[in-house]
Amino acid sequence: GAGVSQSPSNKVTEKGKDVELRCDPISGHTALYWYRQSLGQGLEFLIYFQGNSAPDKSGLPSDRFSAERTGGSVSTLTIQRTQQEDSAVYLCASSLALVSSYEQYFGPGTRLTVT
């Protein structure tokens, strides 16, 4: 079956512009997660969704970052007024349920470059 897909695969934007990153989870997966990975670094957890709800937004780096999920499926991560330090690979993952005993399936990521 289809895995997690993300779009675009690459995004180059100018500093100060807004960007939207999209994630399509595996069908039937109720939990969805966003991470980011800076060059040569480990993964940084950003936010999770259980259904359409994101109860804990404390992992978002700043108030320029927001995320939503609709219909218990597609999620969008929005970064407003992008800064150069936002450059990273943004990874989305989904799992059957919101427990770590279920493996998380990751998408290929969106490479964001802010110039």
Partner: protein, 111 residues
């Protein structure tokens, strides 16, 4: 969430067995141990998960001693395609949905 410590890098040769050990001294009673693999330009991929003793699947084995303060991922007869970063994660099955990735172990398999 328990903090994990693992080697920054390891080198091996094709056909050898590779063992990567992860320390997690503060592991909690209900924490599971999970290993992920990440190739360049890809998202991480689940390899194996265990709670205690030994778990084996078609890809790897996971050895967990009785005190659970460490775990060892064993990759039998590695090939060049096993060159990747391997992450050890520890979290509770009921609440630690956040996967906290450390720096991982960069494994290089040489011909």
């Amino acid at each position: 969430l328990a903090k994990t410590t693992q080697p920054i890098s390891m080198d091996s040769y094709e056909g050898q067995e590779v063992n990567i050990t992860c320390s997690h001294n503060n592991i909690a009673t209900n924490d599971y141990i999970t290993w992920y693999q990440q190739f360049p330009s890809q998202g991480p991929r689940f390899i194996i998960q265990g709670y205690k003793t030994k778990v084996t699947n078609e890809v790897a084995s996971l050895f967990i001693p009785a005190d659970r303060k460490s775990s060892t991922l064993s990759l039998p007869r590695v090939s060049l395609s096993d060159t990747a970063v391997y992450y050890c994660l520890v979290g509770a099955a009921d609440s630690s949905y956040k996967l906290i990735f450390g720096s991982g172990t960069r494994l290089l398999v040489r011909p």
